[in-house]
């Protein structure tokens, strides 16, 4: 028998001791010259009961990391720990971890109930226990009426729920979700997002969720790990990641960002047009990249003190807001997001000379 999956707790209480720990994981595919490093020295610690999201573009290594935790791949080097125990070389069927697959991978020859009960059957539980737990799971995902159907007869959203119920039924210590919402249409995706969040809170199980959709990540997660090129760039709460991206990739991948080249000296940044901007928090020196979100860029009159001189090049109207594209003295393009006001005032006309300013607190000094 494998170690019993933990008792499920009520309410998502995030504790500090890690549920999953990945230590210096390297995963290389192929050998010699054709070798590709899918994971390049990744270390991450995922807390018990949290909703953790691995976010990144396709090919960044997020799915590989998930498969490593599930046991479908073994790391080339490094360690995976579950509740402090080394599970690096345990096969997937010996790990108290379950997966919701991107394709759902529902067994087409089994009914909905048989799918949900599959894991319990493999664990050797009694018929009565399996029936009880399956009924409980069907209720949890609101599919009681479908229990005897074959999975091919279900809609995409229903299949998704079966996949969830099937993975949750054996009470895993950690639930892994591999882009589970990518096959659904927009409306259903929104519904399932809150559904997933509800399930996570109700069951208290640690969720590790893989996605390339930043909005999905920002709305659902307790913490996000942003990945690119086989490495984790930044780990933090959604607000932290959005407000304080540490490098250019994170700033660019999540939301929209203006990048400005500046010269730093003694806590003061010199911006294009020789405008000085005090950034007391930063100890950087020499040339740096500054990131400013469009919603923090204010358009002011040209002669405002501390404003960067700019010219309006064009603007794009989006309904709730519009993006005004401005060109700075050195040619850098900066976008300012203007909330549409009650009067529906028009954006400044192209060619107008204006000033651009932003609060010092909205400026991020990036590492690279």
């Amino acid at each position: 028998m494998q170690s019993q999956p933990q008792q499920q707790g009520k309410g998502a209480s995030v504790s500090e001791d890690p549920a999953v720990e990945v230590r210096h994981a390297i995963k290389q595919f192929g050998q010699g010259d054709s070798a590709v490093r899918a994971l390049d020295d990744v270390s991450v610690s995922i807390r018990r009961g949290e909703f953790f999201t691995l976010l990144g573009p396709s090919g960044c290594g997020k799915t590989t990391l998930l498969r490593l935790i599930a046991g479908f791949e073994t790391p080339t080097s490094g360690q995976i720990l579950l509740d402090g125990q080394d599970i690096t070389n345990l096969p997937p069927n010996k790990r108290p971890v379950n997966t919701v697959f991107q394709s759902y991978a529902l067994f087409p020859h089994l009914t909905v109930a048989e799918n949900i009960g599959f894991g319990l059957k493999m664990l050797g539980q009694s018929r009565a226990d399996i029936a009880a737990r399956t009924a409980e799971m069907l209720a949890l995902v609101q599919l009681e009426a479908m229990s005897t159907r074959k999975t091919a007869q279900l809609s995409g959203g229903q299949q998704q729920r079966v996949a969830l119920a099937r993975a949750l039924a054996p009470r895993p210590k950690v639930l892994l979700l591999d882009e589970p919402l990518s096959a659904l249409d927009l409306k259903l995706r929104k519904e399932m997002q809150s559904e997933l969040k509800r399930l996570q809170t109700e069951t208290g199980i640690t969720f590790i969720f893989v996605t390339h959709d930043q909005e999905e990540a920002l709305t659902m997660s307790d913490r996000i790990g942003v990945m690119s090129r086989g490495q984790i760039n930044q780990i933090g709460a959604p607000r932290e990641i959005y407000a304080h991206p540490t490098n250019r990739f994170v700033a660019d991948f999540i939301g929209e960002t203006n990048f400005l080249i500046a010269r730093m000296q003694g806590g003061v940044a010199t911006l294009p047009g020789d405008v000085a901007l005090p950034l007391p928090g930063s100890r950087a020196d020499g040339q740096v990249t500054l990131a400013v979100r469009p919603e923090h860029v204010r358009i002011v009159s040209r002669d405002t003190a501390g404003a960067l001189p700019a010219t309006v090049s064009h603007s794009v109207y989006f309904g709730t807001d519009s993006h005004v594209h401005l060109r700075l003295a050195d040619g850098t393009e900066v976008v300012s997001r203007q909330q549409t006001d009650a009067e529906g005032a028009a954006s400044p006309e192209a060619g107008t000379g204006v000033g651009v300013s932003f609060p010092a607190g909205a400026v991020q000094v990036l590492e690279d």
Binding site: F72, P92, N93, K94, T99, Q102, F118, A152
Partner: protein
């Protein structure tokens, strides 16, 4: 260069006519064969009215009964064994990372398809003649071995196709849900593979039942199969009795093929 054009771009002049003629020509001889199996007279060209007489004659022919049973037994053994072996080989050569020697296995499995039957037949005759002298064994083993070998590629193809069409994540999902590799195979892979296995078995059965050249060279005295018996009968005078036997064989093939198509077409 301009010609008269109907503006259906896919239409090519005369093609449909040729195709229809081809279909007619393909079925006309078989149809004639079946029609004359019901001839009351003993000619295969002059119609003397409808009768079951030749079916009765064939049914009462002890030799026909004997060779038919032998053929069915042979086809059933060869199909069963070759399907079992082909299933294992298909599981070994699909849905995994390619390994060194995999191409060699493909070539070995498909080899009977590439070598002309007469060559294989002669080669088997040479080998088995020596073995028969050395061991004194004259039984059906030789025919079963030879048929099993050339049935393997026919059984292998639909099984492999079925395996390749299966979602790779299904076995991963089984393992993720605590199934051991054996349990995963028993509860997920095998049930999903069954239509492919049944289809492969049917093709193997039909292929074995069809064979005349290899059986002719491999059989020992008194081991005629239905096809080798029919071939020998052709030397003598033809009567609609042969048509009757052929028609029954055709019907059997048709039933098996239809089942095969229904099995492979249905996607669950």
């Amino acid at each position: 260069m301009a010609r008269k054009t109907y503006f259906d771009v896919t239409r090519l002049p005369g093609f449909s006519t040729i195709a229809v003629i081809v279909f007619v020509m393909l079925y006309a001889p078989i149809l004639m064969l079946v029609i004359y199996s019901f001839n009351a007279g003993s000619s295969v060209a002059i119609w003397d009215g409808f009768s079951w007489r030749w079916y009765v004659t064939a049914w009462q022919n002890e030799q026909v009964k004997e060779v038919t049973l032998r053929s069915l037994m042979l086809a059933a053994s060869a199909a069963t064994i070759s399907t079992a072996l082909a299933t294992m080989a298909a599981l070994a050569t699909t849905r995994k990372r390619a390994f060194r020697g995999q191409t060699a296995i493909y070539v070995a499995i498909n080899q009977p398809l590439m070598v002309p039957e007469i060559v294989t037949a002669v080669a088997l005759l040479i080998l088995f003649a020596a073995v028969k002298v050395a061991t004194g064994y004259q039984g059906m083993g030789y025919l079963i071995l030879a048929h099993t070998a050339f049935c393997i590629p026919f059984a292998y193809l639909p099984i492999r196709a079925r395996l390749e069409g299966m979602d790779m994540a299904l076995e991963a999902a089984a393992a993720d849900l605590y199934a051991s590799p054996w349990q995963g195979f028993r509860h997920v892979t095998l049930p999903l593979l069954m239509p492919g296995i049944a289809a492969g078995m049917m093709l193997a059965f039909v292929t074995s039942l069809d064979d005349v050249v290899i059986s002719l060279f491999v059989k020992s005295a008194g081991q005629d199969t239905l096809p080798t018996y029919l071939l020998a009968q052709l030397r003598r005078q033809v009567s609609p009795e042969i048509n009757a036997i052929s028609s029954v064989l055709l019907l059997l093939t048709l039933v098996l093929l239809t089942t095969f198509f229904l099995l492979t077409r249905k996607k669950d």
